[in-house]
Symmetry: C2
Subunit: 224 residues, 2 copies
DNA sequence: AATGAAACTGGACCGCAGTCCGCTTAGGAT
DNA sequence: ATCCTAAGCGGACTGCGGTCCAGTTTCATT
């Protein structure tokens, strides 16, 4: 592809045990956590696959992650990859899962201003910046993991963001169409847009930050 | 890859002659209108391909438009389709070309409030609604014609929208980061988002309209 | 320990987007 | 009318995402 560079998963958390046999990579491959309970062999293969995928990304960029290559690198059949992750998007999203959960935990239960305790406007401002940082940090992967248009908003994590923003907006502008407004705000944080602005247009991150802060101020009717 | 730059530069073009082809399609299959001058056989094939594509869409929906099917239906080889339109997205975009040009002509040189003559805020409001209507009207095709993430904003027509909104914003809020703000506003009109809101969420069009009007009011600091 | 069935596996298979390259043809120049 | 060459052509080919299904493995039950 075009840009070789890539960022390894950039997850804040971790100390993982050294890799030995079926365990952990750079990316947190954590527990399935939504998959109720995997059969032992399935769990082992899942871990192998995620590990292989993150290695391939590190080596060849997100574009180099073909399903066959991942399967081969993990020493399993291609069908297994699809059974476990549904499709390519599902695999890539799984790689981002830990980071997504961390963010979600932060804005739902972490310390202010992101978490509860701060005024809603402050939380909203902090929320956008947090999302922005996360996306910028993982831009290539975020881009590659972008599902097809019609499913983009259906993913549970996306819905969680949506719900959270809606909730904050309701506290700030009870009279407004907060659901719709939330979608609008989130649309301005779209990874594809961020990528375009920073790469094609060369806008520095600070400009995007200011843009978000200004947008929030305007939309909520508060001062910058 | 340098496929002939088939799409237009962003210059205003004018109402094209009425199209009369076999089917009276919603879609215009009109003349190339910008391609310097195609060899006779190439021009003929181009027309055949567009006609075939629009027929296939009518029959099987946008998803049924495979490059091979279009080529076969038009009685040409597959390579010809790619040579002419670059890729699938290019073909679908070409089908939308006339409608795009019309809109562009309208907001650049048409009657107010869309065209020049009305106050910038009114123009901006009208602009968003016009875009909204156009997208809703052609949702499936717009969705299918959505290029891969990294190219979404690179298309000349998209740039034209961007430039126009930026220009209007500069007249309304000279101090603001109008370029960035323009991207934000346009992001809220993304076909994928519109599709999600209207189809998955079941929001009626009127709600989206109100949303846009409200957003414009907020962002420009004017009254609703 | 034996058993049965659900869960899992892997690789052959399919359809489609996109590339390649040798052949054909349009159409200007002479 | 003839020639010349760039433009156009088409279909074989590649690579990938995704499906399918016959065979294998796990594990709860007895």
């Amino acid at each position: 592809m075009l840009y070789a560079g890539f960022m390894s998963a950039a997850l804040p958390s971790f100390p993982q045990p050294e890799e030995s046999l079926g365990t952990p990579p750079v990316l947190d491959v954590g527990t399935a956590s939504d998959e109720p309970c995997l059969r032992a062999d399935a769990a082992r293969n899942r871990a192998r696959l995620l590990e292989a995928a993150s290695r391939l990304i590190a080596e060849h960029g997100a574009a180099g992650v073909t399903m066959e290559a991942v399967a081969a690198a993990a020493g399993v059949g291609k069908g297994t990859v699809f059974r476990r992750f549904g499709d390519r998007t599902g695999l890539l999203l799984a790689l981002l899962d830990h980071s997504a959960r961390t963010l979600q935990a932060d804005f739902m239960g972490g310390p202010p201003p992101l978490g509860p305790g701060a005024p809603p406007v402050d939380r909203l401002r902090a929320f956008g910046l947090a999302v922005l940082y996360r996306y910028v940090e993982q831009l290539d992967l975020q881009l590659a993991a972008q599902p097809e248009a019609s499913r983009r908003f259906a993913h549970p994590f996306q819905q969680a963001l949506q719900t959270h923003v809606t909730m904050l907006l309701r506290q700030i502008r009870p009279g407004a169409d907060c659901e719709l407004l939330a979608h609008t705000l989130l649309a301005s944080l779209d990874p594809a847009l961020i990528s375009h602005l920073t790469r094609q247009r060369g806008m520095p991150l600070e400009r995007l930050e200011k843009g978000w802060v200004d947008l929030v101020a305007r939309v909520t009717g508060t001062d910058v």
